[in-house]
């Protein structure tokens, strides 16, 4: 690879990612009046609408619904936006890739990093909601950052794989979009999974999105140590995905340039 080991080049590498990310965020909010504030506001508005609909219109009874929904929403959004934007990273940056000698991962990682920055901003609203609704956050909340660490690992692996896939198959974007739409409904975002029939419930409990969300909810909202089976799944999904993504990227990376 072009950028090789050593501290100096690592620093450079990170700088490039930061710079690309800054560009990305700027572009996203270029014309907007509230700008980056939207990253904080948006989750709150979503939460307000969904809470209104499900707890008032349909009177579903879930304890502390706003926080319940928001936990799922911010984690799902992190993975969904991170992976969708990463998917097109290689194709979008075609010119930069031809002109510069930056490592190709950079382009994917900068999209992931952008999503992560967005996530951190949405965590501000999350904390506000936790305080307002008086969620007793205990020591088990240490599992939350741990959970996010594994989410990121999963996301990076997924993004590597998707970005390569999209270079070789244009339909990949549609396929993944459809899969994501289905998974959104099967991630237990706005309903209680325990209410479902056993078949659907089993299916959902193997959905990585749900696994990450469940660990976050248990540890942060309910002050419980997450169930062992979910912790194990969390690690397997993320480490597995990271390895798969990394391998795909490594073996296909050089073919990408020909294809592009």
């Amino acid at each position: 690879m072009v950028v090789e080991g050593g501290r100096e080049s690592d620093k450079q590498y990170i700088n490039v990612i930061r710079e690309l990310t800054r560009r990305e965020i700027k572009r996203k909010y270029a014309r907007s009046f509230f700008g980056v504030l939207w990253s904080v506001l948006n989750p709150l508005l979503y939460m307000a609408v969904v809470t209104f609909v499900f707890s008032y219109l349909f009177s579903r009874e879930i304890e502390n619904y706003p926080a319940y929904y928001l936990t799922g929403y911010i984690i799902f959004s992190l993975i969904a936006t991170g992976s969708t934007t990463s998917m097109t990273a290689l194709k979008d940056n075609r010119n930069l890739m031809l002109k510069t000698k930056w490592a190709r991962q950079t382009f994917v990682l900068s999209r992931v990093y952008t999503a992560f920055v967005n996530f951190l901003l949405s965590c501000i609203s999350y904390m506000v909601v936790l305080i307002i609704f008086r969620v007793n956050v205990g020591w088990t909340a240490v599992f939350f950052p741990l959970d996010i660490f594994f989410v990121m690992l999963f996301l990076i692996g997924l993004s590597y794989a998707l970005s390569i896939w999209y270079v070789f198959l244009g339909d990949a974007k549609n396929i993944y979009g459809t899969i994501l739409m289905v998974l959104r409904f099967f991630s237990g975002l706005f309903y209680k999974v325990d209410d479902l029939s056993p078949g659907v419930k089993t299916f959902i409990s193997f959905n990585p999105f749900y696994v990450f969300i469940k660990v976050a909810r248990d540890s942060t909202l309910y002050g419980k140590i997450p169930e062992m089976s979910f912790l194990v799944q969390m690690v397997i999904w993320s480490v597995g995905m990271y390895i798969v993504g990394k391998l795909v990227f490594k073996y296909k990376e050089n073919k990408v340039m020909e294809k592009i």
């Binding site: 907007s32 508005l45 969904v50 339909d171 409904f185 099967f186 209410d195 479902l196 029939s197």
Partner: protein, 258 residues
């Protein structure tokens, strides 16, 4: 007169060209291309049917058709108005350089949404056949429902497009608003689950009205009551006029603003 129709033909040509470009942009390298417009609503419907028949424990006769009717019409409104909202800003270069009337760009986005809806109707018709819905003469009223809806969408789209030039954050607000409408249009549940007050409010929701008309025609097989048509017609007339007025006022010095 002939000059006018000549002009109209030209505009139609421009709209088609722009639409073609949009289609290419969206699916440039997709092998299945337009087929995705058929697949997506279908998968969406199946997912909604599974989740909501389990979560909400719905007992609606022919729930798949019930849901798909709602999804298709909601999508028409959603993609039509959202596309129109972005039309002026997205075609900035065109707008500044050419002398094409500005509302062509709004038209084109609504046209696109309409074409996409036609694609999703393929899946819809198949579903009707599979679930054994018998054809009835009142189904012929559905195109009228769609036509009135398109007028309404056009009016709303014009308003949104102008606002977007001056206040870009409208995109975020509108997105949230449409989410509210998605849940508030009885797409996957029946009205009687809701409190009377909520039902009252919903009966004034134009998307809900358009969906209800279509469901009555297709599933129940009788002519929808005049009140529904009057309400929808009033919305369409009012917003079309308002939209045209705002558009005229708002676009006078729009080039400078862009």
């Amino acid at each position: 007169m002939t000059e006018k129709s000549e002009k109209r033909r030209q505009y139609m040509f421009v709209i088609r060209q722009l639409a073609k470009r949009d289609v290419k942009k969206g699916n440039s390298s997709a092998f299945l291309g337009q087929l995705w417009n058929v697949i997506n609503p279908f998968v969406h419907m199946i997912t909604m049917v599974i989740i909501f028949s389990v979560v909400f424990d719905n007992h609606v006769p022919n729930y798949p058709v019930y849901v798909l009717t709602g999804t298709i019409i909601y999508s028409l409104y959603n993609s039509g108005t959202t596309g129109a909202m972005k039309s002026m800003v997205a075609n900035k270069n065109f707008l500044v350089r050419t002398r094409i009337p500005k509302n062509i760009f709004v038209f084109e986005k609504v046209y696109m949404a309409f074409i996409n809806m036609l694609y999703s109707l393929i899946g819809y018709v198949i579903l009707l056949i599979v679930t054994g819905v018998t054809p009835n003469p009142y189904m012929l009223l559905v195109p009228l429902d769609i036509a009135i809806s398109l007028v309404l969408i056009l009016g709303l789209g014009k308003i949104l497009a102008v606002i977007n030039v001056y206040f870009a954050d409208i995109e975020y607000f509108y997105h949230i608003l449409m989410l509210l409408f998605m849940y508030g249009s009885a797409i996957f549940y029946t009205m009687d689950r809701m409190a009377p007050a909520a039902q009252m409010v919903m009966s004034f929701n134009p998307i809900y009205i358009a969906i209800t008309i279509a469901r009555i025609c297709v599933m129940d097989g009788y002519a929808p009551g005049p009140m529904l048509w009057v309400k929808l017609g009033c919305y369409a007339g009012f917003f079309y006029l308002l939209g045209s007025f705002i558009f005229k006022k708002g676009t006078q010095d729009i080039v400078a603003k862009l």
